[in-house]
Amino acid sequence: MKIRFYHLFLPCFSVALSLFPAPAPAVSQAEYTRTVERYEMPDVTLINQDGKRIKFRELMNSGKPVVVDFIYGTCTTICPVLSAGYTNFQRKRGADAAKVQLVSISIDPEHDGPAIMRKYLKNYRAQPGWDFLTGSREDIDRVMKAFNAYIPNKMFHYPIMFMKAPGDETWVRIYGLIGTADFIKEFEKVVKK
């Protein structure tokens, strides 16, 4: 068969779509699931909002309780809620905010550079103790895989958060969006264990 250039386009048309129109408003209440996991942190160097190179493994074992989530700067749906949760968590802790290491890791590392991450943190009124990290796609992939949270594409991401007490080998994995009361409850359980 003679191949025409437009044949290249045919695969584009084979996208199967739902037969149903756009969904009606979602009304189910948010829920989350909690599990306890063991993860091996990768030996990678990432870059924070100030352009500083951060040894990820060291940051995860900095002697502070750590909370980690995966977000990106232009996310429309999940990340804003996760980040508002970080903001309110810091607000509730007041002067003790910096005693907990909050970490947001970009899943859009090509776009999220230090300047964009700084602006993002400013919009969310981030206090010291909240770092936003980016890096090469390979290193970001290694971090996502280490947390068993790998997604090949940022558009497929889901709400997930991890907490760990200093010196502890285990992580609490929280799947779903949570309010501040649940956030603090889970955090207290982790550090008081």
Binding site: K2, P21, A24, A26, T76, T77, V81, R125
Partner: protein, 576 residues
């Protein structure tokens, strides 16, 4: 044959039926928001014009600022306070109001048409054009101004159901709430230019400076795409179903047309030409297009008319963080200048070099490269480099390099010059010893591999494409399809960019269905999964809300020895 009495009875029955139908229609007719409604502002908004209210509502919806200039306040997830600076309506429901989905979280449409329509329980779909469900059981009734104001404040919909707590509950004064309601009522109710019941009209722009082969390499695949467009079979089947016929959504199966807008003469006259084309035939969007010069006049035209423009082929895109309507493949030359600055910044041995010199010609390429390098370099807290500007056709005498060497010791030199400036592609003459030299692969073009071997050790090249050794397999595969067409083969890079365009817009065009909107079209492109190893040209094409340059990286490479050198990457694809 109908008897006289029978005919009268028949007429009466028809009359009764028509009256009933009219009455039913009147009852069921939903006063859907019209873009041109007058005098429908709430008394509490007295003193404001319709435009005032829409402008204030837009600021609340898009940037989370109240008419007072203060950020909006809300609560999400039951107990998480949020401010408009963090996120606001547009973050989830997008500019069009047509909603979004990420992972398992779906944000419903909140455009005026669908908010003010009831939602069927069985189909969970808005019954557009109806105020009641008729015989259908409703999931929720159509919103009214009052129930819409109420749901913003309480999070409880007209069916008495509490919305997901991901939806913020807003703390608004009555006046601000009325402004928000009014804005939502008319959100995305404007008619869309270039759209008819049966057709979506597109155009592509070509400037007269473009050589014939490049023009054909852009236009032939684009025309093929337009003429061969059809919806995925699954969508077609769905839209032929009785469900879709009831919804009147057959109009989603529109055909496409492509007008070619040719721009001639001086750039200053392009705007007038574009206006004339648009006046004669309004289009929904611009696809592709090509120019050897700066794209700015076409970019500005699209911004002013809110016309989406996807993947024009240009080395000179407009670099902006706020403009909305043109989606570029990359930042062009600017991307290379920026990458060189970031690479240099990361090299401690080089970044402290006292002398950094850019050499350019007084033409767009040199200006774009040097401006991007300088802006990025200064943003990284370095002193501005010095820039030597040569006239367009000025020969470079040997004395030039001597003078440059005389002034500076071991400088870093960025030679943003064409291959034609270097006989036998020897970038430097004897006696001039810079620490490193940067050059642009886009400017050196196909002569890059002929770079003199004696200079390969200290020459770094900005390379904003997929590396040849990586793309080899893909090139072979795509090349098989291109080989029947000589023009497309010789200008393969241009043709491949149109292939990327097709991959990028096909799914969004399918997904728009009946809700054809320019903003929604752009939003669907923004929300599409990344295109990895995009048609053997770029490692990755990706967007996100507000992102306007799909390919975001640029390697810094060096050449190996020998007559057929390989490109060895000296940096990551994206350098932070």
């Amino acid at each position: 044959m109908i008897s006289r009495g029978g005919f009268s009875r028949y007429r009466r029955q028809v009359a009764v039926w028509l009256i009933s139908l009219a009455a039913g229609a009147a009852l069921c007719f939903n006063a859907l928001p019209s873009a041109h409604a007058e005098n429908d502002l709430s008394p509490i908004l007295k003193g404001l014009t319709r435009d005032d209210v829409l402008r204030m509502g837009e600021a609340m919806y898009r940037i989370g600022l109240l008419p007072s200039g203060e950020p909006m306040q809300a609560v999400v997830m039951g107990d998480v306070p949020v401010e408009g600076t963090m996120f606001t309506c547009v973050s989830c429901h997008l500019r069009s109001g047509y909603g979004s989905s990420e992972g398992q979280v779906r944000m419903p449409p909140i455009d005026g048409t669908r908010l003010y329509s009831p939602v069927s329980k069985s189909r969970r779909a808005p019954l557009v054009g109806r105020s009641t469900g008729g015989s259908e059981e409703l999931y929720r009734p159509a919103y009214t101004d009052e129930t819409l104001a109420s749901v913003l404040e309480t999070g409880i919909d007209p069916a008495g159901r509490r919305l997901n707590t991901v939806m913020p509950v807003y703390i608004l004064s009555e006046r601000d709430r009325e402004i928000m309601v009014y804005y939502l009522k008319y959100l995305s109710t404007e008619p869309q230019p270039g759209v008819t019941e049966t057709t979506l009209h597109f155009a592509t722009v070509i400037t007269e400076d473009v050589p014939g082969e490049d023009r054909d390499a852009m236009l032939v695949p684009l025309k093929n795409y337009i003429s061969n467009w059809r919806l995925p079979k699954s969508t077609e089947r769905g839209q032929r179903s009785s469900l879709y016929k009831r919804e009147g959504t057959m109009k989603a199966m529109r055909t496409f047309t492509l007008a070619v807008w040719e721009l001639k003469g001086p750039r200053e006259t392009w705007r007038e030409q574009l206006e004339e084309y648009y006046r004669k035939e309004p289009v929904f969007a611009l696809l592709g297009g090509i120019s050897t010069g700066e794209w700015e006049p076409i970019h500005r035209f699209c911004e002013d008319h809110r016309i989406p423009a996807v993947f024009p082929i240009t080395d000179y895109p407009v670099i902006s963080e706020t403009d909305w309507y043109t989606l570029y493949l990359s930042k062009g030359f600017s991307q290379e200048g920026e990458a060189a600055a970031r690479f240099l910044h990361g090299r401690e041995d080089l970044s402290k070099t006292p002398a950094i010199i850019q050499v350019i010609r007084d033409e767009p390429a040199g200006r774009a490269l040097s401006r991007a390098f300088q802006d990025t370099w200064v943003s990284l807290k370095h002193e501005a480099p010095s820039t030597v500007v040569l006239k367009r056709d000025e020969p470079i005498p040997a004395s030039f390099w001597k003078e440059l060497a005389g002034k500076n010791k071991k400088p870093v030199v960025l030679l943003w010059l064409n291959a034609g400036d270097f006989p036998e592609l020897k970038l430097l003459t004897k006696g001039f010893k810079p620490s490193v030299v940067f050059a642009s692969a886009s400017l050196l073009g196909s002569r890059l591999s002929t770079l003199a071997e004696s200079e390969r050790g200290y020459v770094y090249v900005t390379y904003p494409y997929l590396l040849p050794q990586v793309s080899k397999g893909q090139r072979t595969q795509v090349g098989t399809s291109l080989q029947n067409d000589k023009v497309l083969m010789t200008r393969r890079s241009t043709a491949l960019k149109m292939y990327s365009l097709a991959q990028t817009i096909s799914d969004p065009l399918s997904k728009m269905r009946t809700f054809v909107s320019r903003d929604y079209f752009l939003e669907l492109i923004e929300a599409a999964p990344d295109l990895v190893a995009a048609p053997a040209t770029y490692p990755r094409l990706s967007f996100g809300t507000g992102q306007r340059y799909a390919s975001k990286g640029c390697y810094i490479v060096q050449l190996t020895g020998g007559p057929n050198p390989e490109l060895i990457k000296k940096s990551e694809w994206v350098i932070h």
